[in-house]
C-alpha cells in the first residue's frame, strides 16, 4: 500500500526555524510561542463532523461520560469476583479482567510451563467452571466486561458467551471488549501462540461472528498501548497501531466481511504517558487519520464505521518506584490528557503498580482520581475545549505528519506482517526503549524523585504490601482437577474433535465450535493443543 492520504497541513516556512526548538517525546519541535498559522487553510470542522478531529460525538462527554474501567484480577475466581463487586460498589462502570499468563498463553494450570505462574498476574480461567464463579452475582446484561486477552481471545470470548448462556442473558445484550490484537503481541507483550496467518483467521472468525451474535460487543481492541509502554514514541504508537488496524481490515475484507458493518465495532487502546500535548494531540490526529483512511481507502460511508473509538490506560512505565506517591500526580495529569483527547474509556494505574499488584486501597485511589476529574474539575463539560488553540492545532497537524511518516516507513518496508515476522518492528521498539533509558539515566529526561530532586535520605516506602494468597494456585488446580472428573468425557472429546476438524477448513468459522467446547467444560489448554496440532506455533524472530 502507498500512503493513502496526505496531512491536513503542508510544512510552512516556519518549520525550518522550529528545528532549533526542543522536541516532544515524539520528536516534534515545540515552539515557545505559538501564533496564528498562515498556512492553515480552513477553520476546523465542529466535533461530531468528519474527519472528527475534535471528537466523534457532537456533545462529547455531555452525552455520556467515559467508562471507568480498572484492570483487575488475581488468584482464584472467588478472590477476583470479590474485588470486582467491591469496585462496582465504589462506582466503577465496567469490568476489566486481568488473566494469568497460563490462561493468556494457552496452558492448563498443571502444565510444567505454567505451574509457577498460576494466578500471579491475573485470574486463572481454565474452564467454564472458573468463569461461572468469576461472574457470580454480576449482571452481564448491564455491566460491560473487557478482557485483556489475545492469543486465546476467541476461547475466552466463547467462554463469556457460555457464561451468559448459563445466566440466561441474551447474547445480543452483551457489551464489552476482547483485546484480540495478536499483531502487537508479536512486537510487545508476547502472549502469541500460533503463527500469524492462522492467528489472523481466528481473529476474523471472532469479529465476524460477534458482529452477528453480539452486535454491541467490541470483538477487537487494536492496541498500541503495549508498544508505547515498551518504548515506542506516541507518534510511533499511533502509526504502528493504525498500520496494524489496516492489516485487520484488509484481512476481514478478504474473508468477505462488510467494512460498513465490522468497521463500526473496531476499537483501539493506547497508553497515556507524561508528555501532555503529545498525548492530547496524538488522539486528535488519530481520529482524523483513521476516518480519512476508512472513507478514502475503503469507501466507507457510514460515519459510525469511520469513528476512531478508543480506550486508554494511564501510568505504566511512566510510573517509578522512587517516592511512589508521586505516581498519583502523574496519573492525574495523564488522565486529564486522556479526557482532553476524548477517550471512551479510561483505566488509571494505581501508584504501587511499578512493583506490585495494587491493594484494595491503591486501586480505590486510582478510581477516585478519575471520579475527581469527571465530577469536580469540570474539564469534561465542553467537548474538545482545547480545540482552536494555536499550539494544539499546530501540534495536532505536526503529530499527524509524524504518524503518517511512521506508516509510510512500514509501507516502504513491505507492510506490518513482514515487519513483524522479520523482527524489524520488535528491534525498533527495543532500540527506542534503550534510548529512553539512556535519557533517564543521564538526566536528559527528568523524573522527579528518581533522577531529579532526589534526597539522599529519601524514603521510597509505599504503604500496604499486596500479598497474594499462597494457597490460591492450589485452589485453582483443585477446581481444575474436580472439573475434569465431573465433566462428560464423550462431550469433551466430541467437541474438541469437531474443533480440530474445523481448524483445517479455511472457510469455516471456529466460534460455534469453541462455544460448544466451553459448554462441555473442555479446558483452555485442550482447545489450544488441538489448534496447535493443525497450525503449529509462532517462531519468534530473536534478534537484538
Amino acid at each position: 500500500m502507498t500512503a493513502p492520504i496526505s496531512p491536513r497541513r503542508a510544512a510552512s516556512g516556519d518549520e525550518a526555524a522550529l528545528s532549533l526548538h526542543p522536541v516532544s517525546s515524539s520528536g516534534i519541535p515545540i515552539p515557545t510561542v505559538a501564533t496564528a498559522d498562515p498556512a492553515a487553510t480552513a477553520p476546523l470542522e465542529p466535533p461530531g463532523v468528519y474527519p472528527f478531529t475534535r471528537g466523534i460525538f457532537p456533545d462529547g462527554y455531555a452525552g455520556r461520560l467515559w467508562t471507568f474501567r480498572q484492570y483487575s484480577g488475581f488468584g482464584t475466581a472467588e478472590e477476583s469476583n470479590r474485588r470486582y463487586r467491591f469496585l462496582l460498589e465504589q462506582g466503577q462502570t465496567g469490568l476489566s479482567v486481568a488473566l494469568d499468563l497460563p490462561t493468556q498463553c494457552g496452558y492448563d494450570p498443571i502444565d510444567p510451563m505454567a505451574r509457577s505462574e498460576v494466578g500471579k498476574v491475573g485470574v486463572s480461567l481454565s474452564t467454564l467452571a472458573d468463569a461461572e464463579v468469576l461472574f457470580e452475582g454480576i449482571d452481564l446484561a448491564r455491566i460491560s466486561t473487557s478482557f485483556t486477552i489475545n492469543g486465546t481471545a476467541a476461547i475466552i470470548y466463547a467462554m463469556y458467551l457460555a457464561v451468559a448462556d448459563k445466566h440466561g442473558v441474551p447474547r445480543e445484550k452483551l457489551t464489552g471488549t476482547i483485546q484480540n490484537d495478536i499483531l502487537k503481541e508479536y512486537v510487545a507483550r508476547g502472549t502469541w501462540i500460533f503463527p500469524v496467518k492462522p492467528s489472523l483467521r481466528l481473529i476474523a472468525d471472532s469479529i465476524l461472528f460477534s458482529n452477528d451474535v453480539t452486535p454491541r460487543f467490541n470483538p477487537i481492541s487494536i492496541a498500541g498501548a503495549h508498544l508505547h509502554d515498551a518504548g515506542a514514541t506516541p507518534a510511533e504508537e499511533i502509526g504502528y497501531t493504525l498500520a496494524n488496524g489496516l492489516a485487520y481490515v484488509d484481512d476481514l475484507k478478504r474473508r468477505g466481511g462488510d467494512v460498513e458493518k465490522f468497521g463500526k465495532r473496531l476499537s483501539f487502546f493506547f497508553y497515556v504517558h507524561m508528555d501532555f500535548f503529545d498525548e492530547v494531540c496524538k488522539f486528535r490526529a488519530a481520529r482524523r487519520i483513521w476516518a480519512r483512511l476508512m472513507r478514502e481507502r475503503y469507501g466507507v460511508r457510514d460515519a459510525k464505521a469511520q469513528h476512531f473509538r478508543f480506550g486508554v490506560v494511564c501510568g505504566g512505565s511512566s510510573l517509578v518506584a522512587a517516592q511512589p506517591y508521586n505516581n498519583i500526580m502523574r496519573v492525574t495529569i495523564e488522565t486529564m490528557a486522556a479526557v482532553l483527547g476524548g477517550a471512551q474509556s479510561i483505566f488509571t494505574c494505581a501508584y504501587d503498580e511499578p512493583f506490585q499488584i495494587p491493594t484494595e486501597f491503591s486501586a480505590e485511589l486510582a478510581l477516585r482520581t478519575q471520579q475527581i476529574i469527571a465530577y469536580e474539575s469540570g474539564i469534561s463539560k465542553t467537548v474538545d475545549p482545547l480545540g482552536g488553540s494555536y499550539f494544539v492545532e499546530q501540534h495536532t497537524d505536526r503529530m499527524e505528519q509524524a504518524i503518517l511518516a511512521v506508516m509510510k516507513e512500514i509501507d516502504d518496508y513491505g507492510g506490518v506482517i513482514k515487519a513483524i515476522e522479520s523482527g524489524w518492528m520488535q528491534r525498533r521498539v527495543a532500540q527506542r526503549a534503550h534510548e529512553r533509558k539512556i535519557k533517564v539515566d543521564s538526566g536528559d529526561t527528568a523524573v522527579v524523585g528518581h533522577n531529579a530532586f532526589r534526597r539522599a535520605d529519601q524514603s521510597d516506602e509505599f504503604g500496604e504490601v499486596f500479598r497474594l494468597d499462597p494457597q490460591a494456585s492450589q485452589r485453582v488446580i483443585e477446581r481444575y482437577e474436580a472439573v475434569k472428573v465431573r465433566r462428560n468425557p464423550d462431550a469433551v472429546e466430541r467437541t474438541l474433535a469437531r474443533l480440530q476438524q474445523a481448524a483445517a477448513e479455511e472457510g469455516e468459522n471456529l466460534m460455534p465450535c469453541l462455544v460448544d467446547c466451553c459448554h462441555a467444560y473442555a479446558t483452555v489448554g485442550e482447545m489450544v493443543q488441538r489448534l496447535k496440532s493443525r497450525w503449529g506455533e509462532f517462531q519468534e524472530p530473536v534478534r537484538l
Partner: protein
C-alpha cells in the same frame, strides 16, 4: 553516564540473557542486552518463554560466563531456583546468575541465598548494572 570508560569492561565475556516462564515483558531484557553489548560483551538472547532446562542447556552449549534472568510476572523465586538447579545439574554451576525485573526488596536476600550475584530493577542506571556484572565476573578468567 561514562559510556567511553565503560566501553570495554565486559570485553571477551559471553553472557546469556534469558526469559524463563511465560512472562512476555522483554523490554528490560533487551535493554540490558544492548547495554552489556555496548560494554563489550558478546550477548545471546533466548527469546520468550524458555524453560529453566532449556536455558541451562543453552548456557552450557554457548559456554557463557553469566546468565541474566528477566522475570516480571512475580514468579522469580520459583524460576530462578529452578534455573540455578538446572545449571548445577548440567555441570555449569560456576556460571554467574543475575536477575532483573519486578523484584520486591523482600525477595533480594532469598535470591542472593540461591547464589544470585546481582538483583537489578528498573530503578538502577544501566552503567550501574554493567559495573555490577563486571565486578561479579572479575575473579573469573576472561
Amino acid at each position: 553516564m561514562n559510556a567511553t570508560r565503560q566501553a570495554f569492561v565486559l570485553h571477551g565475556r559471553r553472557i546469556l540473557i534469558a526469559k524463563p516462564g511465560l512472562d512476555g515483558h522483554d523490554v528490560g531484557a533487551k535493554v540490558i542486552a544492548l547495554a552489556l553489548r555496548d560494554a563489550g560483551a558478546e550477548v545471546i538472547y533466548t527469546g520468550l518463554r524458555r524453560s529453566p532446562a532449556h536455558i541451562a542447556r543453552v548456557a552450557l552449549e554457548e559456554g557463557v560466563d553469566a546468565v541474566g534472568l528477566s522475570v516480571l510476572s512475580g514468579s522469580h523465586r520459583e524460576l530462578v531456583a529452578q534455573t540455578i538447579a538446572c545449571l548445577r545439574e548440567a555441570g555449569a554451576g560456576e556460571v554467574r546468575v543475575f536477575v532483573g525485573g519486578t523484584i520486591p526488596k523482600d525477595d533480594f536476600d532469598y535470591l542472593r541465598g540461591l547464589g544470585v550475584c546481582g538483583v537489578y530493577t528498573s530503578a538502577m542506571r544501566l552503567d550501574e548494572v554493567v559495573a555490577s556484572v563486571a565486578e561479579a565476573l572479575a575473579d573469573q578468567p576472561a
